[in-house]
Subunit: 247 residues, 2 copies
């Protein structure tokens, strides 16, 4: 019998999976109960590996305009699907496996996709400037130079220059807290974004939180801050998502 295990392409580190966007799909696959195996790829090998697997690019490099190949990406031997982009993959998994728990429950698909944008716009700009330099230490040495160089292309600055300094650092950290505060305001007392029902929206937030914990480390002041913000709901969310998470 042919192997029907889904292949998930992911970035390695000494602590396993760490990328917020890939973690979404890792959570999604386990939540849907779909067996998968990980193929670990260093940054410089993403393009050639994905091309060889027939997975299309998802974007263009801002400087050169050339196609950009990104993770997460999957190959599903059951259907022949070969896809990248966490939102595209999530939609595919619900369509291909509608009898498994839905990532985007009936009639919330557009709302779920928009949620990703809502979260990105609320915390992304603050997050990236602080976390990218930390992620240089998370990725393997084989990826670091590529990671640094491509961040300059994507963000227009070196990861060092992106980090806010002095008073600005305090202000930007407060803005990050306020960004998470917006999300807390939407969720109110609910455990998950849709109340008691887990959905892709939780994996979007969960991805960011798990990446934070890995990037700063459990003993850092940064992680302690994030874990305490808004009555500790972000660390609780990660705990609530544990049944669906494996590195």
């Amino acid at each position: 019998m042919a192997d029907k295990t889904i292949i998930l392409y992911d970035f390695p580190s000494k602590n396993g999976s760490w990328n917020a966007f890939v973690i979404r799909i890792r959570l999604a696959l386990k939540y849907k109960g779909l067996p998968f195996k990980t193929v670990w790829i260093e940054y410089p090998d993403v393009e050639s590996t994905l091309k060889a697997a027939g997975i299309p690019p998802t974007a263009q490099w801002p400087d050169s305009g050339k196609p950009s190949y990104t993770l997460p990406a999957i190959v599903d031997p059951s259907t022949g699907a070969a896809l990248a982009d966490s939102l595209v993959i999530a939609e595919y998994l619900d369509k291909a496996y509608p009898d498994k728990p839905l990532l985007m429950p009936s009639s919330t698909k557009a709302l779920q996709l928009a949620f990703e944008q809502a979260v990105l716009s609320s915390i992304g700009p603050m997050f990236f400037q602080f976390i990218l330099i930390k992620l240089c230490d998370v990725v393997n040495p084989a990826s670091e130079e590529y990671f640094r160089r491509s961040r300059v292309s994507l963000f227009g600055k070196s990861v060092e220059d992106l980090v806010p300094k002095g008073e600005s650092a305090k202000e930007e950290w407060k803005k990050l807290e306020a960004g998470f505060g917006k999300i807390a305001g939407w969720m109110k007392e609910d455990k998950f974004v849709m109340g008691d029902t887990v959905s892709f929206a939780d994996f979007v937030i969960g991805g960011w939180i798990i990446t934070s914990k890995i990037a700063w480390g459990e003993d850092s002041q940064e992680w302690k801050d994030i874990a305490e913000w808004h009555d500790g709901r972000w660390s609780k969310l990660v705990k609530n998502l544990e049944p669906y998470y494996s590195k």
Copy 2:
């Protein structure tokens, strides 16, 4: 019998209601089938009128830090509720009138609130720079000076200086189209954000579109552009929302 009609505070113009945020609530009240009457207020009178009605401020002025009173605002004589902010009002209406059609159907509340942010971040920055100067001609003369002055406080520039010029105007207009394209990408072939079900998310988009039509005028190139973008879906949406709209 005491009058139970909800009072909606709105900004007048020679074309009636025009403000995207108030239009959301106008649509919401009619969708829920709740009788309401409009109290029209010019900008300089908002603070004193809302204070007198016991409606709290919703924000702070960025320059002075003083409390800022905004529309939409409602007073509901049935419950004594006196509220401002379109999201707060929408949540209140579902809570107070759960037997009427829900604006935020069960378990989508957080997703609906986030949708507002997703739309704002996708089109807001481009929209405001083009539309504010047009709105100076929409508001009544009694409001214009206040409107212009307070936009400087909110956006840090005069409405004239906000408008992109020359090549930049073309680029920014294309960015606005791309912002709407994101929303179209979330909705795909669906008529409403939640498929066949109308929800508050549609009123958020609808508010922006109705304001555009009023600000630029039906014969303008700007409105023709917006009405044609993405297979004409935005003008169709306004048409589909007509049963819930009255000036």
